[in-house]
Symmetry: C5
Subunit: 86 residues, 5 copies
């Protein structure tokens, strides 16, 4: 997983039917050499803008969505505790 900060919502009215109802967030990677990389992840946890999150990518991302036929390659799997400093 990588750690990132939620920057904003991403809206895409025209999209795959299988993505309808999913919320997408723009996330900026934080910490280490990949810091500053942008990822767009599906969010089913309810992360807010400004929060630090854990992002899971690849085929494992689909495991978060309860069905395997969704074209999603990144999801928010957790929200990093505020008092977890790194």
């Amino acid at each position: 997983m990588i750690a990132g900060k939620v920057i904003d919502n991403i809206w895409a009215t025209r999209k795959s039917d299988s993505l309808k109802g999913l919320k997408f967030m723009l996330i900026e990677a934080i910490g280490g050499k990949e810091s500053g990389k942008y990822i767009i992840a599906a969010d089913t946890i309810g992360a807010g803008i400004g929060e630090r999150v854990l992002i899971c990518g690849g085929s494992s991302a689909r495991k978060m969505l309860g069905k395997d036929d969704v074209p999603v390659d990144a999801v928010i799997v957790g929200i990093i505790d505020e008092d977890c400093i790194f």
Copy 2:
């Protein structure tokens, strides 16, 4: 997923039979540190040149195509709304 801007069509007359009928687009990643990276993605949504799109990669990309035996590792899964600024 990553966000990108559609740059052009990509034409490949000689290709895998399983790719016949698929449209391929050249996309440039936008935003963040990966900005400027080129990806070639299959498009089944009808994205136009200049539009900003969401790209899904890896095994999840095949989920967009309705069959699992296609050698495609990137697809356009949505078109970012024009008034979505980031």
Copy 3:
């Protein structure tokens, strides 16, 4: 796999139910050009802060966890011997 050094624990109270009970560690890649990249990996081996570990990523990471439906894309699969210099 890549080699990394365990930097710290990562705490995320709000997370996917399927991640409950898993320990997450912040790891910094060591050696070569990717040195300084951060990865957050699940740990079922009991790695300690400061130890050098082997990290496996992608779908293979789930093979470490004994079930295939967990949204995890990186795990610690081994601890590099102290006298293994590189």
Copy 4:
């Protein structure tokens, strides 16, 4: 997918039995920020040195080879038309 230019053949006499009979080509990524990256891909299309090709990576690469148990993570899936400028 990514676009690349075929640089040379790669010969490996000692290799996995499951790779016998496959042709491998050294390809240099072209266009965008990843330009200059080297990939070694299996070729079943008959690409020639100097041609521009489409490369598919990851698990999707195996879909090109007609069987799923081959340790190959990159294949040439198409040859870009000469008059396709980008």
Copy 5:
């Protein structure tokens, strides 16, 4: 696949039970922009230090090991011929 040069053995006494008996090698990518990247790969071919090898990554790596439940994401699949210059 990528090409790399075998740098050294990697020893990890404490590791996943499913990795027991596997040999791990530290490999440095050669050629192109990714040159200098370190990868740790399982070796079942018998590559020696200093030899140039082909590395397969991701889920395809598990195809080399004869069973699908091993947490390994990189394997040596071939040894590049000495007279293959690139």
